[in-house]
């Protein structure tokens, strides 16, 4: 029926960022020379692992990453519980979870490679093969679907000139459909790498893609 999908005009759009600096929000005590991944071990497993710059050949868990890996181990009563965070770390470093990475994680946690593979393939967030610099995940579940999510998917595919699940020729974009991203009141919700874009309409798609490309990541 309606050509222009319905929009919620009361929302800021991209809620991945706030107008205030971290210093303003957290207070001066908590901002300083902290490592990029945060300070306390309690949050060690909770950092973004879909970074834009990825290097599939870099060594796993060295230096700063070694520290983080060891911090993670201190937070659980068993070594095995570090498996999900460790796979996340591997993906943060290499961009996807390769068979080689899985073997290395298995070795470090005293697990069999087959077991690690069994676990990794259960979860959707581990990329089993390399993806574009920007992994575009469009929610097409019910609330977004009611507000025209299918057209948003089409707009991304048209702009990037790819098919669902494939990577565009320039290596920038992989577009996939996602299940509900828990932002249903602000449809259509699109997750691009670690960022949420809310209230996305098809006509905004070129602008969003251009901006991502120009950020050079």
């Amino acid at each position: 029926m309606s050509e222009t999908p319905f929009r919620n005009p009361g929302w800021a759009g991209n809620t991945g960022e706030f107008d205030l600096t971290e210093e303003q929000v957290r207070g001066e005590d908590f901002v300083g020379d902290r490592p990029a991944h945060g300070g306390h071990a309690s949050g060690a497993g909770a950092m973004p692992y879909m970074l834009a710059e990825k290097n599939p050949d870099v060594a796993l868990f060295e230096g700063e990453y070694q520290e983080r890996f060891e911090k993670i181990l201190t937070r659980y009563p068993t070594k095995q519980a570090a498996l999900l965070p460790a796979l996340g770390l591997a993906q943060e470093i290499r961009g996807y979870v390769s068979p080689d990475s899985m073997d290395r994680v298995a070795e470090l946690l005293d697990l069999s490679p087959a077991y690690v593979r069994g676990v990794a393939t259960f979860y959707t967030m581990y990329n089993k093969r390399p993806v574009g610099r920007h992994l575009v995940q469009v929610c097409t579940n019910i609330s977004c679907n009611l507000n025209g999510a299918d057209e948003v998917v089409e707009a991304f595919l048209r702009y990037t000139d790819t098919e669902l699940g494939e990577t565009s020729e320039d290596g920038h974009f992989t577009v996939i459909e996602a299940e509900c991203l828990a932002a249903c009141g602000f449809p259509t919700c699109v997750q691009i790498n670690s960022r949420y874009f809310e209230n996305v309409t098809p006509d905004q798609v070129p602008q969003i893609c251009e901006r991502l490309k120009s950020e050079g990541k």
């Binding site: 319905f6 809620t15 929000v25 949050g43 019910i142 679907n145 009611l146 509900c180 828990a182």
Partner: protein, 430 residues
């Protein structure tokens, strides 16, 4: 301007500071009275806390509505084993978007609730299992935890009470089924997130084989307010059996979708008309799913009779679930939307139980056939029959969740199925 939308009907307890990023700052939180309830809790002692939570009548906000105080009292005492409190922050039920907002706007409220809960059940360590896709939320939470450690609200000898508590944020990796309580435990332990057969129940054998309790984010966020103000105070809102306030996540075809905190028992029609500014474009209402995609769909007539409390929803043949109100107007293609929901369950089934794994996949296939105009009337009987075999026959209730939308929509919107089957005009194209 205030948080996307607010309404005069709201009673904002949990959502009071939505839209104010300063609330994330530990010092601001404390200035506004934060961590006061934790101090009071240490003075009260575990038993009194549990009594107060029982008196409030607080029911779990994760979907099942089980009384929280009663759940806490199941935890064994004096076992000498480690106990765990798990916070279920895996929010992924289609239509639900409250936990993310609670965590990103007011992370310390949740941390305080977790600490009180852990102290009440004798746990030493809290794990907040936060959905993997929530990168921003995970960071907000992790930083708040770090700040709380630095200020001495988490850690050793908290505020001179002699109590030691630890808290870890655990990032999920993308699987709806990890929201199911035992699936979450398996996932936390570094396994596939497949639900476990019960019994044994988590209070006996939970995470890492130890006694554990699992609560939803919203449940735990409510706890500091109950401890601070008392159970009787909380009962001034809501109904006898469903006391208190609840966040309603409204999405779909209304003018002002969003999160609204309302007393339980609020009329559904009034929520749509007054709180959410009515239907978009003045369209007629066709159907509502009041509790997230796992509950039966109701039609406009039932909407006009439905009150939003656990009993009121049951009275019109549906459930409150996690109060995710999905509103559909007259242009909605019901068959397509039901098919989309079933696709979701087919994708998310963990595959352990045959009725769920096979049933969800076949149901999705038959629905697609009907949607594409290749269905027959017998298909409707097959759908009813197949989904009936998926109810109560599996390890967890994901399987039952497939039956809810399919059976209720065939019962209430049979005409739309028939129209497609008879290759009539497609109804709407939302």
């Amino acid at each position: 301007m205030a948080y996307p939308y607010v309404s005069d009907h709201e009673v904002r307890i949990l959502s009071k500071h939505f839209g104010d990023p300063m609330q994330r700052r530990v010092d601001t939180y404390v200035e506004r009275g934060g961590y006061g309830a934790l101090k009071k809790a240490f003075e009260m002692g575990p038993e009194k806390i549990i009594d107060e939570v029982k008196a409030s009548g607080l029911r779990g906000r994760g979907g099942a509505g089980f009384p929280t105080g009663v759940k806490w009292s199941f935890m064994p005492k004096g076992t000498g084993k480690p106990h765990y409190l798990l916070c279920n922050a895996d929010e992924s039920e289609p239509g639900t978007f409250k936990d993310r907002e609670l965590m990103r706007w007011d992370p310390h409220q949740l941390i305080e609730g977790c600490l009180i809960g852990a102290y009440a059940i004798g746990a030493q360590h809290v794990y907040i299992y936060c959905r993997g896709e929530f990168f921003e939320t995970n960071q907000v939470l992790a930083r708040a935890v770090e700040d709380a450690y630095a200020r001495g609200y988490i850690g050793k000898d908290i505020m001179g009470s002699g109590v030691d508590l630890d808290l870890t944020v655990h990032q999920g990796a993308g699987a709806y089924i990890c929201g199911e309580e035992t699936g979450l435990m398996n996932s936390l332990e570094g396994r596939r997130g497949q639900p476990r057969v019960k019994p044994p129940f988590p209070a006996a054998v939970g995470a890492f084989g130890m006694p554990s309790t699992i609560n939803n984010v919203e449940t735990l966020c409510t706890v500091p307010h109950i401890v601070a103000n008392g159970g009787a105070w909380y009962r001034q809102w809501g109904t006898e059996k469903s006391p208190g306030t609840k966040l309603f996540c409204v999405s779909g075809h209304v003018n002002r979708p969003g999160n609204y905190e309302l007393p339980l028992g609020f009329p559904l029609q009034k929520l749509i008309d007054d709180v959410c500014g009515g239907m978009r474009g003045g369209n007629a209402l066709k159907a509502v799913i009041p509790g997230g995609s796992s509950v039966p769909i109701i039609n406009a007539e039932e909407v006009s009779r439905c009150t939003l409390d656990y009993e009121g929803c049951v009275a019109v043949g549906t459930m409150l679930g996690c109060a995710s109100v999905i509103v559909m107007d007259e242009t909605t293609d019901v068959v397509k939307q039901v098919r989309r929901m079933v696709d979701f369950y087919a994708h998310e089934s963990c595959g352990q139980c045959t009725p769920c794994r096979e049933g969800s996949a076949w149901t999705a296939r038959i629905l697609r056939r009907i949607e594409e105009g290749r269905g027959t009337e017998e298909d409707l009987d097959t759908l009813m029959d197949t989904t009936q075999q998926m109810v109560g026959t599996t390890i967890c209730v994901l399987s039952d969740s497939v039956a809810a939308p399919v059976q209720s929509s065939i019962n209430k919107f049979r005409d739309e199925y028939l129209a497609l089957i008879r290759r009539g005009e497609r109804v709407g194209a939302a």
